[in-house]
């Protein structure tokens, strides 16, 4: 018994046990009506609703429109972040031109842009894509900039001694060398993109998972609301996992090289 407890404490099961415990607590709170069933439906009923929503295809439809907006914005913002980060790090005048304005715009919380975005872009996809792109842009920009700044000059000299110059150096040396940093920015932006996508859909939308959750709450359909939130949790978890898998494949050399340095 003692042995079992120790093995539980050392393994991955401890964290899972906590989640199961909290779900049981939730179930009890709902069953025994510690909390009003109107606000807190039982876990089992939420999961049943989630299952129905998945089977009917309703949830997947909302998810599809959300994911389209999110990825469109994420890739636009990410691409611009890499491009401008590269330019700012490579050309002093570009840096001098853009640094002050980024420092002013960056600290403003993204949701504060929603009213402006609605004024200029309406309440359709353009507004949400813009919001996600805008929020995804800054982490990628900053990390690309610092990644490019720290490229080893010896590597660029090496390219030059082999007759490589100009844009080819950017492509062959600077980008791969800055890739670990760029990936860090992209990972931060992915989390930000998910948040901003949900927020912009809650503010103004007629579909999407953010809209779905808010509409369910307003219609006192709390089971649907919780089903939507669980979907978001699973989505966020999966996106991060997929990202890490891609990253470890693309940057396998970097993990090896940095582990080597630590030894």
């Amino acid at each position: 018994m003692k042995n079992f407890a120790r093995r539980l404490a050392m393994g991955p099961w401890l964290g899972i046990a906590l989640i199961v415990f909290l779900l049981v607590l939730w179930q009890l709170a709902a069953e025994l009506k510690w909390v009003s069933p109107l606000s807190l439906p039982s876990v089992t009923s939420v999961l049943a609703t989630l299952w129905d929503l998945l089977l009917s295809g309703e949830l997947l439809k909302e998810l599809a429109s959300s994911l389209w907006r999110m990825f469109a914005g994420y890739f636009i913002g990410g691409a611009l972040g890499v491009l401008l980060g590269l330019l700012m790090a490579s050309f002093r005048p570009v840096y001098n031109l853009l640094e002050p304005i980024t420092e002013i715009l960056r600290p403003i919380p993204s949701p504060a842009y929603v009213p402006i975005a609605i004024l200029f872009l309406g309440i359709d996809d353009e507004m949400k894509i813009f919001m996600v792109a805008f929020a995804s842009f800054f982490p990628v920009l900053l990390n690309t900039y610092s990644g490019v700044r720290s490229v080893d000059p010896v590597q660029m000299q090496t390219a030059r001694t082999f007759g490589v110059k100009g844009a080819k150096i950017l492509w062959q040396v600077v980008l791969p060398s800055a890739a670990p940093s760029i990936f860090t920015g992209m990972r931060v932006s992915l989390a930000v993109a998910l948040i901003v996508m949900v927020i912009s859909e809650m503010v103004a939308a007629s579909n999407g998972i953010g809209y779905f959750v808010l509409a369910a709450q307003r219609g006192f359909k709390t089971r649907e609301m919780f089903a939507g939130i669980i979907t978001l949790a699973v989505l966020g978890y999966c996106l991060n996992r997929i990202f890490l898998a891609i990253e470890s494949r693309v940057l396998a050399w970097h993990r090896g090289a940095t582990q080597q340095q630590k030894n």
Partner: protein
Amino acid sequence: MRDSSTAVQGGSPYIAVRGVRKSYSGHGRTTHALGGVELQIEQGAFVSIVGPSGCGKSTLLQIMAGLVPASEGRVDLQARQVTEPPPEMVYVFQQYTRSLFPWKSVEKNVSYGLENREKLPASEIAALTREYIGLVKLDGFENHYPWQLSGGMQQRVAIARALACRPAVLLMDEPFSSVDALTRVGLQELVLRLWRELGLTIVFVTHDTEEAIYLSTRVVALGKPPSTVRMDLQIELPHPRDQITTRELPRYLQYRHQLLSQLFSDEGLASGAKPNPA
């Protein structure tokens, strides 16, 4: 073994460094590193440049390579002024750990210069890459990454990468200064062998006078900055050289005496010996 009298081609030297000066300014003051260096190098020579640290010998090499512009003066390669890295020359960096691309395998690192220097079919690039990996005895490590290799092996990758472009001139900046003594001997033999077999011209910067004498056909000593050529010594030691017997030759010791006396007197260090027994 090799005839160094083929030096002059059409009246102009193979490599000519003419009145090269280099100054850096920054933080409100100007540093004069090179104060008018004159140097002519014949084809096929193995020339070492020695001097106290900070004398600008690496800077001189970078100027010769077209990587850094001279403040004054010029460098000519076969009577053409060097303004950017010429295709006949490759520079081998001191810091091999920083000069190899960590995201490329050994094979991709070696083929890097080849792919960029000339338009060759992929099969030929692959064949040349294999050949030069074999030449530095790294067969079997093609798919390793630089960080999986020892320091000496990494520098061999860098040498293979440079040679795969089949340059006529190899410019080497203290290439063996950060490996252990035995690895260093191995690399010295490798470079001597490649110099002989491939008919290269090598300009070799080192702070180690013994290494310079052992490897070279000529040793050039720079003084304190702003540096100029303080001593120019033809090394007439027999080839092939031998790590033990060559270093025991009276001639070798005489060259060593001359060079060290020069360097010590420039530094204001007394050696107790009479300068220049020659």
